[in-house]
């Protein structure tokens, strides 16, 4: 006789929550397209997006060539960084882990610093300073760190060791960047600093054609890793005892997280905070430990936060645009503090 149990296997109103997030995302996406130094009415935007002609031809230009790629970049960057951060937090069982703990952004910074500043050190060898070159340099830098981390991870058993080694790679790259800065001229240092502020606006449609597949691959891979990520919540030893091939899974998680973090950093600069905070925010709003639900929610959450930050970075009614890196932290930090103080159990529930 089957046991009479009050256990339910249905997931409770998670779908409603997800739908709410999707709606919020669509609204913010539209708002992001609409707001700026020139306001475009939402109705006109929808007309433009579906190929119609708007009242003013300039609007088409603004929306299609400038704001749409920027909004899509925000969407991709937000979900990529948040998804990367979630995977790192679960892999290392550490609430302070984020997409850059393995030194990915430091590698990218080193690459960009070399291109931007080594020119002056080597005597005008690299005078070219286009966005495309920066992207190339950042990609090369983060790939280098990625390869080093993957090489190390194949040798060691303990994930905590890997975390420390990642931090060391970061410090090494940081030190090299400092040396470069020390020997560079003010304009080059300025150019490098501006890159570190992060920017969503620089991406062209051609660049999006590279960024989107990279992010798509990373996000898709993470969805395939939902099951082992769930097992890793219990720690490495329990996961192994349940049959998780630890080294292989760790390798795949690192690949996914690094593709996401590296890709975004290459095109948008090192955007802080989103990757660390969004997983926490999402877990506080949608309390679940199941990565099959957590991963999509975190991706949505990251995109929402990034769009919101982008909207706020264009100071309303002015021509000024704040650096996105400052806005993410300015907006995000108080929200996270407020939520943690209210809920109190973040260290146990990450």
């Amino acid at each position: 006789m089957p046991a009479q149990t009050p256990i339910s296997w249905k997931t409770k109103n998670q779908a409603a929550n997800l739908l709410l997030l999707v709606l919020l995302l669509l609204m913010l996406f539209l708002a992001d397209l609409s707001l700026g130094s020139v306001s475009v009415p939402p109705a006109q935007i929808i007309k433009i997006l579906f190929g119609g002609a708007s009242e003013k031809p300039a609007w088409e230009q603004i929306i299609l060539q400038f704001r749409l790629p920027k909004a899509i970049t925000a969407l991709a960057a937000g979900s990529a960084l948040a998804c990367s951060g979630l995977q790192m937090q679960t892999l290392f069982r550490n609430p302070l882990a984020g997409p850059f703990v393995l030194g990915i952004s430091s590698g990218a910074s080193l690459g960009v610093a070399l291109v931007v500043m080594a020119g002056s050190v080597a005597g005008g060898l690299f005078t070219l300073n286009s966005h495309a070159l920066t992207v190339l340099a950042a990609t090369a830098g983060s790939m280098l760190v990625l390869l080093l981390v993957v090489g190390v991870s194949a040798r060691i058993r303990d994930s905590m060791t890997l975390l420390i080694i990642g931090l060391m790679f970061g410090s090494l790259a940081g030190a090299l960047v400092s040396i470069l800065q020390f020997f560079s001229q003010a304009e080059q240092v300025q150019a490098y600093l501006i890159w570190t502020f992060g920017s969503l606006a620089g991406t062209t449609w051609q660049e999006l054609a590279m960024l989107l597949p990279v992010c798509g691959a990373g996000l898709l891979l993470s969805l395939f890793l939902a099951k082992p990520l769930n097992a890793l919540l219990l720690g490495d030893r329990y996961a192994e005892s349940m049959g998780v091939p630890l080294k292989k899974v760790r390798f795949l998680i690192i690949i996914s997280a690094s593709l996401l973090a590296g890709g975004v950093t290459a095109f948008c600069g090192p955007i802080a905070f989103v990757g660390l905070a969004v997983p926490h925010l999402t877990r506080l709003l949608i309390p679940t430990a199941d990565h099959r639900r957590l991963l999509p929610s975190v991706m949505l959450g990251g995109a929402i936060l990034m769009l919101l930050c982008d909207i706020l970075s264009q100071l309303p009614g002015t021509e000024k645009v704040l650096p996105i890196n400052a806005v993410t932290s300015l907006l995000g930090a108080p929200v996270v503090i407020w939520l943690i103080v209210r809920r109190r159990n973040i260290s146990k529930s990450f």
């Binding site: 769930n230 030893r237 349940m242």
Partner: protein
Amino acid sequence: MNTPAPHIALNAKKLTIGYQSKGRRQQVVQENLELQLCRGELVCLMGPNGAGKSTLLRTLAGVQAPLAGEVTVGGKSIYTLSQSERAKHISLVLTETINAGNMTVQELVALGRYPHTGWGGSLSRTDEQVVEQAMEDLEVIPLANRLLFELSDGQRQKALIARALAQDGQLIILDEPTAHLDLINRLHIMRLLRQLAVLRNKAIIVATHELDLALQSADKLWLLHKEQGGFTEGTPEDLVLNGSLAAAFSRSGYHFDPYSGQFVEEQEAGVPVQLTGDGAAFLWTKKALRRKGYKVVSADAEIRVTVKSNPSASLWVISSGNISTTVYSVEELLRELEKLQ
């Protein structure tokens, strides 16, 4: 009654455990162990610190390769099985703390189905039934939707055992499952484990330091001695009676009392006290006197204590020479004895 032939779950032959690090000599912890465990049996693995309990557990769980010998589970060598196949035979309950606070008890137990589900991890109806049964066996159904960080230590331990049970192997290995639990919870966990062994036909290995608990609940004891090669196994009572238990833990200054089943501090030559009486009051008085360093004797001594008790109260008569005092608690008794010296 016709009983089926006992099903051997775990078999270890000429097992040598220890460590082999690169470029260094092998470090042998125990040699030539012969172990056998049947389904339906609960064995307690005991031994002093450093005797190799953890090494043996890791080796039997397939986490660490032996230096020599073979371990089979259900007739298959566990070191040749793939990791996920091994997970279908052996499940573990470890000592490490779990930080997944947002996980519900039900989600935790469902994770036990990991080696049985596809890449997405979704549960079939059979999986769900196994999980429900495991939760029922461990009495955690009322906790199904509670988050792990809200649980007491005892509840969390039951949930973790339910997870191991849901993994549905024939062998469950538990490392110190009763550490940090209060007395009743310890007894309760061990009773549940006994029931699992019998009702769910599992072979269960419990590593523990708690002698009294092991003596009460184990079908078998595996004793690792401190010295290399020192291994004895058997029914707990036999090991008490033939002195193996005393030998395994032997250490100067302590000896094993086969009457109480406990290790006690060796008696220094203290002031002799002749104690007479019976019942619980007699035993507890004896404990108290020993703790205070008196040598409890049954023959003539200068100080004599007689315990008189009925079910509701006890009294103690102290006589020394021709003085006689009556007291009504052990505390008073100890105070009076101190005055006599």
